[in-house]
Each structure stands twice: as structure tokens, then as C-alpha cells.
């Protein structure tokens, strides 16, 4: 193209250029991230595994398993065995149990779980497999405890993460938007909180809550709710820092200024440009916070400070396993299976988190 023609836009030429420009499809952040994630085979399969696992955990009542709380001392410490049949463990159920009867066999279940349990009875009738993964010292079925325990662990992780997200994003965004002295003060407070060994404060708090749990229950606050809030309240610090940093750099960035000059409306700038930029970094931290909180819940339950019976979580299972270790007879299934379930989930979450970070981190774009 010679120099003269470059500036000589005829009407047709302009049309053609506009046509050409339309053909270039911009790739949004999410499309790009999705593509990168799919290319990272480890992360992709970790994600698939987690999706299947979450679904299975939600559908726990449909599986033909014994109640995780059902005690059968005559069947204590049975080794894993296959098989199955009309074992009639649900003997306390009539053909059509009421909600109360179901709650007695489990604990206070939600109406969704009642429905799922009915579905299971419609599908499997009274058929149950033998104890595939063995039983513990009270004759409770390990497989059932792992599957039901996964629900508690996932629920705690999600709820506490959501709570930490709420505090962290609000705090960080506010601090970043205000800037100046308020920002400085708010970040100093975060610094102070960082240097407190929180585990000790949390253990404090939880024993404190345990002491007045009946009092709180009268006010309609149950222990588990407080548990989520406390864990969430500890884990918001990093999120606040990250969001604040991102907001600060976005606030002063040239592309926002360019958008303003181009006449973009404030909502458009906010929702089409600022939020997606923050969202990506938030998602990355979320996937790394979830396993951390799961680990923390397991840690607390292991110390006997977390989830309380009759509910099960993976932490309580691990605790049962280690207390059952003794030199006379090794009930290896009590240790190995809960550990494998927890280990594989945490590993998958971490791998997915790493993959998402690589896929979403704008700094990594264009590099490999």
C-alpha cells in the first residue's frame, strides 16, 4: 500500500475497513480463560472430578447407604466386604416413613433431603450393599459416613468462603475507593490482624461459643452458623488486600480514563470493565481459599472443636481413625478411606486453583 492511498479513504474503503474490523472477534477474558483451562489437562480433570464429586455429595441421600449415625455394635470394626442384599438396616422405617421418622434415623434434615431419601426408597426399596469400606468401632458404615461427611465439609467450606468473600470484597473495595488516609488506616488494621495468630483466637471463640450454645440456640443461632461466620471472619484478610490493590490500580489506570474520554457511562465502566477485572482475581483467590477452609474445618474437627455429633465431617472421621489406631489390631480402613477422600478432594481443589490462577491472571496472558 503506497503512502498516498493510506490517507485516502473513499466511502467504499471505509466501509470495507469497518467490515474487516467487525470480523475480528474480540476474545473476552472468560473465553480466553476457559480456553487456557481446557488446555491445562491436570486442572481440567481436577475440575471434572470436583464437579462429579459435588453432585454425588448433594445426592448422598439417594444412594442406598445406611444412615451415617446408625449404631450397630454387633457389627463393629468389620473389614470392607462386597456383596449386598435385603439387609433390612432400615428396619425402623415403615414402607412410607414420615419426616419425623427420617429425622430420627439421621438428624434434622432439610425438605430436599427428605425428598431425596424417599426417592432412594422408591428406587432401591430395601436393598443395601454390604459394608464396602468397613465399619467403625460403633458399627457405623464408613462409606456412608464419608459420603455424608463430604456434605458437611463442602457446606462449611462454601459458606465460610462466601462469608469471607463478602467481608473481604466490601472492605477491600471500600478501602481502595476511598484512598488516602482512610485507606491507610484500614490497611494498617488489616496488618495488625495479620500478625495475630488467629488459630488461637478461633479456638478461643469456638470454646466460648460451645459454652453458651444453648443460650444462642434460644435466639435461633445454631452452632454451625457461628462456626461458618468465625472461620469466614478469619479468612477475609488476604481477599481484602487483593481487592484493594486491584481497585487502586484500576482507579488510576489509563484504560478507565480512555473509557471516560470515549464517553462510556459510569455503569458501563463499572460493570463491563471494572467488575470483570476484579472478579477474575477474586475467583482465583476463592479457589485457593476453599481448600484452606476445608483443611481448617478438618483441623478444628480433628481437635474436637468443630462439627459435633451426630453430624459427621471429614475432620471427625479422621479423628475417629487416629484414635482407633492401636498396636493390637490395625483397623486400616478407618484411616485410609477418609484420608483418601479428603486428600483427593483437597488435591483436586488445589490443582484446579493453580490452573485457574494461570488461566485468569492477566499478568500470565501471552506467556506460557
Amino acid at each position: 500500500m503506497d503512502g498516498k492511498r493510506r490517507f485516502d479513504f473513499g466511502a467504499g474503503e471505509l466501509e470495507r475497513l469497518a467490515e474487516e474490523a467487525r470480523e475480528f472477534k474480540g476474545e473476552s477474558l472468560w473465553q480466553d480463560a476457559w480456553r487456557r483451562l481446557r488446555r491445562n489437562r491436570f486442572s481440567w480433570w481436577a475440575g471434572v472430578f470436583l464437579a462429579i464429586f459435588m453432585l454425588g455429595s448433594f445426592l448422598a441421600p439417594v444412594f442406598p447407604l445406611r444412615s451415617p449415625t446408625e449404631i450397630r455394635t454387633e457389627r463393629a470394626n468389620l473389614a470392607p466386604s462386597f456383596g449386598g442384599g435385603d439387609l433390612n438396616y432400615l428396619s425402623e422405617f415403615k414402607e412410607d416413613p414420615t419426616n419425623d421418622e427420617l429425622d430420627r434415623a439421621y438428624w434434622d434434615l432439610s425438605f430436599i433431603d427428605h425428598g431425596l431419601l424417599r426417592m432412594r426408597m422408591a428406587i432401591f426399596k430395601r436393598w443395601q450393599p454390604d459394608t464396602i469400606l468397613g465399619t467403625d468401632n460403633l458399627g457405623r458404615d464408613i462409606l456412608s459416613r464419608i459420603v455424608w461427611g463430604s456434605r458437611t465439609s463442602i457446606l462449611v467450606a462454601l459458606a465460610a468462603t462466601l462469608f469471607s468473600l463478602l467481608i473481604g470484597v466490601t472492605y477491600g473495595a471500600f478501602s481502595g475507593l476511598m484512598g488516602g488516609r482512610i485507606d491507610n488506616l484500614m490497611m494498617r488494621i488489616v496488618d495488625i490482624l495479620y500478625s495475630i495468630p488467629f488459630i488461637f483466637v478461633v479456638i478461643f471463640l469456638i470454646t466460648f461459643i460451645g459454652d453458651r450454645s444453648t443460650e444462642l440456640e434460644d435466639k435461633g443461632i445454631d452452632r454451625e452458623f457461628v462456626f461458618y461466620v468465625v472461620i469466614g471472619a478469619v479468612y477475609w484478610l488476604t481477599m481484602a488486600r487483593v481487592v484493594r490493590g486491584q481497585v487502586l490500580s484500576l482507579k488510576n489506570s489509563e484504560f478507565i480514563e480512555a473509557l471516560r474520554v470515549m464517553g462510556a457511562s459510569t455503569p458501563r465502566i463499572l460493570f463491563a470493565h471494572v467488575v470483570p477485572n476484579i472478579l477474575s482475581i477474586v475467583i482465583v483467590y476463592l479457589t485457593l481459599t476453599i481448600p484452606a477452609i476445608m483443611l481448617f474445618e478438618a483441623f478444628l474437627s480433628f481437635l474436637g472443636l468443630g462439627i459435633e455429633a451426630p453430624k459427621v465431617s471429614w475432620g471427625t472421621l479422621a479423628n475417629d481413625g487416629t484414635t482407633a489406631i492401636n498396636p493390637l489390631r490395625i483397623y486400616w480402613w478407618l484411616v485410609v478411606f477418609p484420608a483418601a477422600a479428603m486428600g483427593s478432594t483437597l488435591l483436586a481443589l488445589n490443582i484446579l486453583g493453580d490452573g485457574l490462577r494461570d488461566a485468569l491472571d492477566p499478568k500470565m496472558r501471552g506467556k506460557d
Partner: protein, 329 residues
């Protein structure tokens, strides 16, 4: 340097006060006192015990007494009226954490004095081990970048981060205590008591350090001065160990602060599994026993430890990397 330390000290004072304030009032707002839940005591005895531990005082006075170093005891200054020749409680600021609420004849200082060396030894052993394993695998990973060795080590590091230490510990106990009896079940005192707990406690941090070393080394190895060193004809070993490692280990140094805090946390579980009479197991017991003073003493001690170590790490960082300016942060 001096203004930096002064600023740190100021924030330290604020942090410490926050911890003391929050934990004190949380503890005291629990309805049942430490002496409530046992069998019903005679009202007079109850009052005497409460008076001895100053539970009958108003909140603010208890707190002031706890912080110290004032002595607000009615019996007079420096506890002339105290019985059995026991030293009066002079408050946290003078290094006295008061009497334990559970172990009647011990002060919190006695318990910490017994348990802290054990936990420190365990912590140092596992930190050493974490550093040795983490740095060596990190370097190997960085040098052999992209190979199967690198990939497997990175996967192992992810596994080390993902798996809770009590899971690893129970596997190892089954393997090396019961199936192949190499180590004693539990206890403390000899070297073989230390190996399994130290291994389990250090593993997570070895994994993190390995990751950090790998990233740091990759960054350092791509620098111009490394190319210069190679061009000068230095042996690859010298280039890596003398020139690259210095820059490559910087991220590891800054991780040492959080790692110490993590080791303190991890010791709660590990000490429980291996029945080690360290500070961690005392803390867990004190929390469930409602032994207020012991739990608070440990919390405050750990806050001081973590904060102090973080400051030392920041100072060390500037010594290693002169480009960092303390006055900026």
C-alpha cells in the same frame, strides 16, 4: 533502620493490646467460670476461690491487674498478704501470666517453662528439615525444568500442601510404628521420638519452600549476571550455588515468618497425635478446660513470637537484598 524498628514497636504494642483486650473480655464473658461446672461447692469456699483469683473484682480492674505491671491487690503492694510464700501476680507486662486456673499448684509461667522448650525443639527440627528438603528439591526442580523430575516434584509439593498433616501422620504411624516397628509409638526425650513428628510437621512447609525456591531460582537463573558468570567459564555448580541461589532464596526468606506461625499451629495437632507434652497440647487442653490464664498466656506468647520473628525476617531481607528500602513500607 531505627525509625523502622520504632514504627514496628508501636504497631506491636497496639497488636498486643488488641489481643489481650479481645481475648480477656471474650474469656470473661463466658457465663460459667472455670470453677463452676464441677461439683457444687460450698458458697464460702466458692467465694474464697474467686477472691483468690480476683474473680470478684470488677472487669476493668481484673484487666488492669492482668496487663500489669501495677499491683492492685488489696493485700498491699508486692503481695505481703499472699499465702504459702507464693509470689504475687504482677501482670503480663512484667512477664507474669498469673496462676493456672486448672493446674492449681502451677503458674502459667511454670507450664510454659516446661512445655516451650519441647515445642521449640520440635519446631526447630521440623523447620530445619523443611528447609533442607524444600530448598534441595526446589533447586533440582528449577535446574531440570520441564522434565519428569520437575513435574513429579511439583505434584508432590501440591500433595504436601493439600494433605492435612494429621492424615500423613496417621499413615506414617501405621506404617512405621505398627507394621514395620522402627519408631516408638509416642513419648518424648530421645532422638527417635522426634523423627516422625518432625517429619510430619515440616512436610507442608517443605512443600511451600520447594515451590518458592523453584520460582525464585527460575527467576534468578534468567538474569544477565548468571549469563555473565557462565560466560566467564565458572563451573555450573558454582554458578548455581554461589550466584543464583543468593537471589533465588529471597522469596523463601520472606516466607519464614508465616512458616513459623504455621509450625506453631501445626504443632497443636502433631503434639496431640504423638502425645508430646508441648505447648500446643497444653493450649488445646486449656481451651477445652476453660483454663483462661493458660490459654491467654499461650496466645500472647505466640503473638509475641510471631511478631518478633516477622520483624527479624524483614530486617534480614534488607540485608540480603539492598534494593529494598524499609522506610517505604
Amino acid at each position: 533502620m531505627i525509625p523502622f524498628l520504632a514504627r514496628r514497636l508501636m504497631w506491636f504494642a497496639i497488636t498486643l493490646f488488641t489481643v489481650m483486650f479481645v481475648s480477656f473480655f471474650l474469656m470473661r464473658s463466658v457465663k460459667g467460670g472455670p470453677f463452676d461446672n464441677e461439683r457444687q461447692l460450698d458458697a464460702g469456699v466458692q467465694a474464697t476461690i474467686e477472691a483468690e483469683y480476683h474473680l470478684d473484682w470488677p472487669m476493668w480492674k481484673q484487666f488492669a491487674q492482668y496487663v500489669g505491671p501495677l499491683n492492685l491487690d488489696d493485700d498491699g503492694w508486692f503481695g505481703e498478704g499472699e499465702t504459702e510464700g507464693s509470689a504475687p501476680f504482677t501482670g503480663v507486662l512484667s512477664g507474669d501470666f498469673g496462676p493456672s486456673f486448672r493446674y492449681r499448684d502451677f503458674s502459667v509461667n511454670d507450664i510454659i517453662g516446661q512445655a516451650l522448650p519441647i515445642s521449640m525443639l520440635l519446631g526447630i527440627v521440623s523447620m530445619m528439615w523443611a528447609l533442607a528438603l524444600g530448598i534441595s528439591t526446589g533447586i533440582a526442580s528449577a535446574i531440570r525444568r520441564g522434565t519428569g523430575l520437575d513435574l513429579s516434584m511439583r505434584l508432590a509439593a501440591t500433595a504436601g500442601i493439600a494433605l492435612p498433616n494429621f492424615v500423613i501422620a496417621s499413615f506414617l504411624i501405621i506404617l512405621f510404628v505398627f507394621l514395620v516397628p522402627l519408631f516408638p509409638v509416642a513419648g518424648w526425650g530421645r532422638l527417635e521420638h522426634m523423627i516422625l513428628p518432625g517429619f510430619c510437621l515440616g512436610l507442608v512447609f517443605a512443600a511451600y519452600i520447594s515451590r518458592l525456591t523453584r520460582t525464585g531460582m527460575l527467576e534468578a537463573l534468567s538474569q544477565d549476571y548468571i549469563r555473565t558468570a557462565h560466560a566467564k567459564g565458572l563451573a555450573p555448580r558454582t554458578v548455581i550455588m554461589r550466584h543464583a541461589l543468593k537471589g533465588g532464596l529471597l522469596p523463601v526468606v520472606s516466607y519464614l515468618g508465616p512458616a513459623t506461625a504455621g509450625i506453631l499451629t501445626g504443632s497443636l495437632v502433631i503434639e496431640r497425635i504423638f502425645f508430646i507434652p508441648g505447648l500446643g497440647s497444653h493450649f488445646v487442653n486449656s481451651a477445652s478446660n476453660r483454663d483462661y490464664t493458660l490459654a491467654m498466656g499461650v496466645t500472647i506468647l505466640y503473638t509475641v513470637l510471631v511478631y518478633g520473628l516477622n520483624t527479624v525476617v524483614d530486617l534480614a531481607y534488607t540485608l540480603l537484598d539492598p534494593r529494598i528500602d524499609l522506610s517505604e513500607s
